[in-house]
């Protein structure tokens, strides 16, 4: 396992600096006065009940949802002028247009490397794609249509996509939602690999169970008197249970599972 890429990108500055961020939809304040600094190597779980703005917050942190006021800096640069997108691995719950035209697993993963900077680089980055797909144990399914895979497998393909792109900052939206427990534990293994390779990980979830021993910091969102953040600190069981953010039924024991090596790849 090599961590060169992660180390090459390690800097002292914050990965995300969010200052007084607000997002309003039709006059309704979905994200309210969020101040947040996430440092390199943190594994942050963004928790909260449905409708508390978890997904909206991380989308705003990536510039996908506009802020009504406040600001976000990404790796030190204001979001509007941030250029180093190769460092960011965004993993949505599903692809927006999955299945309209058959798209193979390999194509979806390789497409992480197709940005403006790779416009004239004709090589397929085959090695990165293979390594990423092996990391999530889906290399055997590389030529299959993405939409023939199970929900959990598709989620792992999207994680492989972020890995292949050479990211060191991962933002995952509900990676464990709606998938079976076996897939959840496999996902937890993949995320453990990311953590061990020094990546910064932000996970939106309302099921901390599967990730409980990976998370270094919990952010509980809700409608509080002083804004959206109800709790920001270590993932202490009693604190999270108090905020209904600890689900015993979803709990797994990832510590007992073997660790799959996940490598951050050269971009």
């Amino acid at each position: 396992m090599t961590h060169d890429h992660a180390l090459a990108h390690t800097d002292t500055g914050a990965v995300f600096s969010v200052a007084r961020a607000c997002v309003t939809f039709d006059g309704d304040c979905v994200v309210d006065e969020v101040d947040l600094t996430i440092a390199t190597g943190e594994f942050v779980a963004v928790l909260g009940e449905n409708g508390t703005g978890k997904t909206t917050l991380v989308r705003a942190m990536l510039g996908l949802t506009p802020l009504s006021h406040g600001s976000v800096r990404l790796h030190g640069a204001p979001l509007e002028s941030f250029k180093d997108w190769g460092r960011i691995g965004y993993v949505p719950q599903r692809l927006l247009s999955s299945g309209a035209v058959p798209t193979s697993v390999r194509e979806v993963v390789a497409s992480a490397l197709w940005g403006p900077r790779a416009r004239f680089r004709r090589s397929l980055h085959a090695a990165s794609v293979e390594r990423a797909l092996r990391d999530v144990e889906l290399w055997d399914r590389r030529d299959d249509r993405l939409d023939t895979l199970s929900g959990g497998q598709q989620r792992r393909v999207l994680i492989a996509r972020a890995l292949a792109g050479g990211a060191d900052t991962f933002v995952l939206d509900e990676p464990t939602a709606g998938i079976d427990t076996e897939s959840q534990s496999r996902l937890a293994l993949t995320l453990r690999g990311l953590k061990e390779s020094g990546a910064t990980v932000v996970v939106v979830t309302h099921e901390i169970g599967a990730l409980s021993d990976l998370v270094t910091r919990a952010l509980v969102l809700g409608r509080g008197e002083h804004g959206s953040v109800l709790y920001d600190g270590p993932p202490r069981r009693e604190e999270l249970a108090h905020h209904h953010a600890w689900h015993h039924s979803e709990e797994l024991a990832p510590a007992e599972l073997p660790v799959a090596p996940v490598t951050l790849l050269e971009g």
């Binding site: 510039g63 965004y90 309209a100 058959p102 940005g115």
Partner: protein, 291 residues
């Protein structure tokens, strides 16, 4: 082949071959973006260009090209602003295009109203050498742009949010795709006609995806289906004495039927080979060891 004795048929055949190649390349991206009907609308807008050309006595192909490209830009700007308003605005622009096209053509008088059918359903006899040169240049531009930006357009069509987090300029790529669709419509105008040109962008892709598992192979098989439809359709148009557009689209639809019929055994064989691979993998995997 006696067909090739006539210069006008040679030109029509080359024009059809160009459409058969270019249309599915753009069509595969349009289907991925769930904009399969966009080409129809662009055809209507291009018709307004043809009408204007008749009215002012300019050359139809370049005028239609400008009308379709301007229409594409306007449509994208409206779509970018609001999805709901965009849907309605699209309808207004498309109706305006066809109504304006027909009205201008009749206002121009003379032979132009008789020529209208040739633009709506294609014609074997009207492709001039100048037209052919225009088509070839526009086709080259479309292919060159896809060769350069195709991968970014693919990511944008797959998921615009993912594309944004890769630093891809989503609005620009979306605009580019719509303009390319407009250019492709004009390429198909002479042989397939503006009412059916969208079919040669979409039907070959629909046929191809019955058999394929990847985007690139869908595009490749789509091109083969597109070429076969264009050439066979043109030949049967000559033999049956019908306009080429409907003949080309009927052949494409037949090929869609053929591919759908082939899809059943192909999928069964794939499922079978996947099952036997899984069996072999299970046999080879040492028990208790995580592969």
């Amino acid at each position: 082949m006696p067909l090739l004795q006539y210069d006008f048929l040679q030109r029509a055949l080359v024009a059809a071959a160009i459409v058969g190649l270019v249309a599915p390349i753009i069509g595969v991206f349009l289907v991925q973006r769930r904009l399969a009907l966009l080409g129809d609308g662009m055809g209507h807008v291009a018709l307004a260009g043809v009408g204007i050309a008749f009215l002012f006595g300019t050359a139809p192909v370049p005028t239609a090209l400008v009308a379709a490209a301007v229409g594409a830009v306007v449509i994208e700007l409206i779509r970018a602003k609001s999805r709901t308003a965009g849907d309605l605005a699209l309808a207004l622009i498309f109706y305006g295009g066809i109504a304006g096209g027909v009205m201008f053509t009749y206002l121009a008088g003379g032979k132009s109203s008789a020529a209208l059918n040739q633009y709506l359903f294609g014609s074997l006899s009207t492709v001039s050498t100048t037209d052919l040169a225009w088509l070839a240049v526009v086709a080259l531009v479309v292919v060159a742009v896809i060769a350069t930006f195709g991968r970014e357009i693919f990511v944008m069509a797959l998921d615009p949010d993912l594309a944004r987090t890769q630093g891809i300029r989503v609005t620009a790529m979306s605009m580019l795709l719509t303009v390319l669709a407009a250019l492709t419509v004009v390429i198909g105008m002479r042989t397939v006609g503006l009412l059916l040109v969208s079919a040669i962008m979409i039907v070959p892709v629909a046929a191809a995806q019955q058999l394929t598992r990847g985007f690139r192979t869908t595009a490749m098989v789509g091109i083969v289906v597109g070429e076969l439809s264009a050439v066979l359709g043109l030949v049967s148009s000559y033999r049956l004495d019908v306009p080429p557009g409907p003949a080309i689209v009927m052949v494409a639809l037949l090929m869609f039927g053929l591919c759908s019929a082939l899809a059943v055994p192909v999928r069964r064989r794939r499922a079978h080979s996947a099952a036997s691979t899984a069996d072999t993998a299970a046999d080879n995997e040492p028990s208790g060891v995580h592969a």
